[in-house]
Symmetry: none
């Protein structure tokens, strides 16, 4: 029997890092999206359940989810839950292209300003997504 890789989404807090709890939650969601453990439409833990398992206040989880919503990464509905946003279905091709340009342009120009080459960016993207 082949060993299975555990791809379950687990949250944890580094209590000593000095990084605010809500930011740690944001980072963990982002990383899970980046490496594929979370996909469009997936539900995140409820603010209460995650608060219990992390032993923090529900508002702190809610704050993380709120920031993610502002950034367009999740959608939230009271009474239902918080979900990785699923915008790709709704958008026409032209619109997607425009959005991709608007996301990419500042990334590229910022990275270039710091002297990074296209090859470095691609390599970095691949290793993060890998």
């Amino acid at each position: 029997m082949a060993a299975e890789v555990d791809t379950t989404l687990r949250f944890s807090l580094d209590l000593k890092s000095g990084v605010p709890y809500y930011k740690q939650v944001i980072l963990q969601v982002e990383m899970a999206i980046v490496d594929g453990r979370l996909e469009n439409g997936d539900q995140l833990p409820t603010v209460r359940s995650l608060a219990v398992s992390l032993k923090i206040n529900p508002n702190t989880v809610a704050r993380a989810y709120n920031e993610l919503e502002i950034r367009g990464i999740v959608n939230t509905q009271q009474g239902t839950g918080t979900f990785i946003s699923d915008k790709k279905i709704e958008l026409p091709e032209v619109e997607k292209e425009r959005i991709l340009s608007e996301l990419t342009r500042p990334y590229l120009s910022n990275a270039r300003a710091y002297g990074f080459t296209l090859e470095e960016l691609i390599k970095h993207l691949q290793s993060m997504a890998g």
Copy 2:
């Protein structure tokens, strides 16, 4: 007579940006290194002179210089001044890696939230950078 490009190092503050003054100074030094206006061994303005020209407290400039020293970007000597570190023409590798990660992570998770695949991103980057 050919027009000359002014490569003088000028500091300025955006008072409304909400970005702390000392961070603005750090960014401006970093950018000047990246695009070659500052090179190995170049002296930065003294904390006092820059403080006067930016109309802020010398300690605020000193704080920026201190952070730059911690990051290995400048060397400081009391009585003499603050200089771009001799050893590194560009930013230290760790620093570059940190910056690249901070640029890439939000780009990637945003793009993923829109349903874009890694391949699409890379293709788009290549065509924009073309």
